[in-house]
């Protein structure tokens, strides 16, 4: 009896396995294999919006989604490395613009997308800097569709109201505000930061560099145009960064940025420099902008900029379904798709036709307005400006610095890492005409 039951099971499993296999083969003709790292709650729903639009426009193409979890695509990149080297690329995959995208170009893994770019008139519809960040050797290699702003200063509205503080506009003002909080509310950490995942230390440094040096110095630093050992701009920024250390949340090495957001909104910490994605987290946790927390673009002086991270999709060389890839990339440039996607994703659309009023919340309306009116600077984060190899070393250097702030040691570490990671060489694309 038992044997017969087992046999029947075996038969059922075999049939199931066979039907899956045959279904895969039958569907092969009309497929779009997508790899992306949008797996978290809101991200997945945002991605589903794109799928919805894609299916409406291309009912004959079946989407085969392969989400690989891991912020900034670290894990996805590990998976892709194998697929691309084995010459079995997906039909499209997610990357970031700039240096990160350049790696795939250098490896000859992705093909130009100039056809889509000019068909959709993206030279006019996208900001010039995005044009630059997707162009290598005179050709476009990626279709971006959304932008995150990295330079926000979130702060506890309750603490700022109670102490009658105004949000700082420069790092010096930030230090002054932190000093006030520390002396008048000793139990509160003036600057909230969580460096267990390291990269938030870079967010904090970036606003310091923007404040002490301005956007030109910022771009030069991250593309290796400054000599870290000798240039006064880098030294000044690091010295200012050191002045922040006494005001940081004491146990930052044990926390991630998301551990820190709620205590800030609960008035246990003062302020925090992080990207717009923190707004989504705070809103989901039930904290209200305007009463519990608020956020300002930071720094405002010498010049307010939009520090940008851009998600991008690409066309792999020798992808199996080229028409599907083209249809996918074209769909991403549709302002309606971008609007619906970005409202859920918590980023902003980069197509100029998407109005600021699209976004239900104040923070993203402001981000969208800033995006259209202020200078856009590519963020260093996720290897958008500096190559990913340097970013990895850079976050190690900065988190070490926060524990033992030795400016001279850090400067020589930066210089060594920049040489090792060939930052100057790989930053050439940014200055190419």
């Amino acid at each position: 009896m038992a044997t017969r039951v087992r046999l029947r099971w075996l038969a059922v499993m075999l049939v199931a396995a066979l039907s899956i296999v045959s279904a895969t083969y039958a569907a092969e003709q009309q497929q779009l294999v997508v790899y992306n790292w949008w797996t978290a709650g809101g991200e997945k729903q945002a991605m589903d919006k794109i799928f919805e639009w894609f299916k409406r426009k291309n009912p004959n193409i079946e989407i085969v989604n392969n989400p690989v979890a891991g912020g900034g695509g670290i894990t996805l990149k590990t998976v892709l490395l194998g697929l691309l080297a084995a010459k079995i690329p997906p039909d499209t995959f997610q990357s970031l613009s700039g240096a990160e995208l350049k790696q795939y170009v250098d490896g000859n893994y992705i093909a130009p997308v100039d056809d889509v770019w000019s068909a959709q008139n993206l030279n006019a519809n996208y900001p010039a800097v995005i044009n630059k960040m997707t162009t290598f050797n005179g050709k476009h290699y990626g279709i971006p569709m959304n932008a995150h702003r990295a330079n926000w200063l979130f702060y506890s509205k309750k603490i700022f109201d109670e102490l009658k503080l105004t949000p700082p506009t420069t790092v010096d003002e930030m230090i002054a505000v932190a000093k006030q909080i520390k002396s008048r509310k000793p139990g509160v950490a003036p600057i909230a930061i969580g460096t267990r995942e390291k990269w938030p230390a870079v967010f904090l440094f970036d606003v310091v560099l923007l404040s002490t040096g301005g956007p030109d110095v910022y771009e030069k630093f991250y593309t290796g145009q400054l000599n870290a050992r000798t240039s006064p701009e880098v030294r000044t920024a690091l010295q200012k960064y050191r002045e922040l250390v006494p005001y940081l949340y004491e146990f930052h090495g044990a926390k991630t940025w998301s551990d820190i957001a709620a205590p800030m909104a609960e008035a246990k910490m003062g302020m925090m420099v992080i990207g717009d994605f923190a707004a989504g987290l705070l809103v989901q946790a039930g904290f209200k902008q305007g009463t519990e927390w608020d956020a300002v673009g930071f720094p405002k002086k010498p010049q307010e900029v939009f520090l940008m991270i851009v998600d991008t999709f690409v066309r792999p060389v020798a992808a199996k379904n080229p028409q599907a890839t083209t249809a996918w990339l074209t769909n991403l440039t549709d302002p309606k798709v971008q609007a619906e996607f970005n409202v859920i994703k918590g980023s902003i659309a980069i197509h100029k036709a998407v109005p600021d009023s699209t976004y239900p919340d104040k923070l993203h309306r402001e981000a969208s307005a800033t995006f259209k009116s202020k200078r856009i600077v590519p963020s260093s984060i996720h290897g958008v400006l500096a190559p990913p190899a340097f970013l990895s070393d850079w976050q190690d250097i900065l988190t070490r610095f926060l524990y033992s702030p030795d400016v001279n040691r850090a400067l020589s570490e930066i210089s060594d890492a920049m040489t090792m990671d060939k930052v100057t060489e790989s930053g050439q694309w940014y200055w190419a005409k």
Binding site: A85, N108, T195, R196, K198, E250, F251, P388, D396, R400
Partner: protein, 292 residues
């Protein structure tokens, strides 16, 4: 039933496949470690021992030796307590009679968790403010002993090792328990009849008779420390700074995040050499033992 050629193929085939895969991969890694491969696409430019030189005497020297030092700390601080605790627990269980059935699974249970789960749970426990360890200390009036734990560059590696000891003590215990059960009962009973206490039995009968278990436990724990990665990744991500980085972590970061594939392969080869240095003497020793 006589063995036919088909049988030979059937059983040797998979073995051959595994051997080829494993040693093929190893050979491949060695080849990459002597290449100039940087970036996503393979670069097959032979550059001899340049990658090793970069690690040991070149630009990555400080990082490499920090990693190596941490690996050595792991070797020393992880293995001795895990093995000793395992042996003590095993002897305790052996003495406890029927209660053993209750306790053995309890101690073995942590081993069934993945390092990712262990890491997450222990990171919570080590939390300087909300963590159970500091709060426990404060509750019993030992608040001054509260530490930043994983947020302290000097303590963080020890904290990681603490989590690993917790996870692997049950494993050492099981192996020791089997070894203790192997000791002829008459020997133990004779000692007791002669008036030896439990402690004396432990010292003069158990310890001298579980040498082979110690060899196995130590060799396996050494291999575990050489490839420790998940705990570091989950709990500290190598930080603060690079203070808790170990070689396997560095290998992953160098290869997949920085695309220094040649350097990453060189680190793998160094880990392999370290592992071989442990496994070969061990195998030699156990083979000799079997022949006697």
């Amino acid at each position: 039933m006589p063995y036919t050629r088909a049988h030979v193929l059937l059983f040797l085939g998979p073995l051959l496949l595994i051997v080829l895969l494993m040693y093929g991969m190893m050979a491949w890694t060695v080849a990459i470690s002597m290449s100039d491969w940087v970036g996503l696409a393979p670069v097959w430019k032979f550059n001899g021992l340049q990658n090793f030189r970069t690690l040991v005497v070149g630009a990555l020297q400080e990082r490499f030796f920090t990693n190596l030092r941490n690996n050595v700390i792991w070797l020393v601080v992880f293995i001795v307590p895990t093995a000793s605790l395992g042996l003590l627990l095993a002897y305790g269980l052996d003495l406890s009679g029927k209660a053993e059935r209750l306790f053995r699974p309890l101690f073995l249970y942590p081993l069934t968790l993945s390092f990712v789960v262990t890491g997450t749970v222990w990171a919570w426990m080590y939390d300087p403010e909300a963590g159970v360890i500091n709060n426990g200390l404060r509750m019993v009036g030992l608040g001054r002993w509260a530490q930043p734990w994983i947020a302290d560059p000097g303590l963080a590696t020890l904290c990681l090792i603490g989590a690993a000891i917790w996870q692997y003590t049950g494993f050492a215990m099981t192996l020791y328990l089997a070894a203790i059960r192997d000791i002829p009962r008459e020997t133990m009973e004779a000692a007791r009849v002669d008036g030896a206490s439990d402690v004396q039995v432990f010292r003069y009968v158990v310890v001298p008779n579980v040498g082979h278990a110690t060899m196995i436990v130590t060799a396996l724990l050494i291999l575990i420390t050489l490839k420790v990665f998940d705990l570091v990744w989950v709990m500290t991500f190598g930080g603060p700074g690079i203070s808790t980085e170990v070689l396997p972590f560095f290998m992953f970061v160098a290869t997949f995040r920085q695309q220094f594939v040649g350097i990453g392969a060189a680190i793998s080869v160094i880990i392999l050499i370290m592992a071989v240095a442990v496994v070969v003497p061990y195998s030699w020793w156990s083979m000799r033992r079997l022949q006697v």
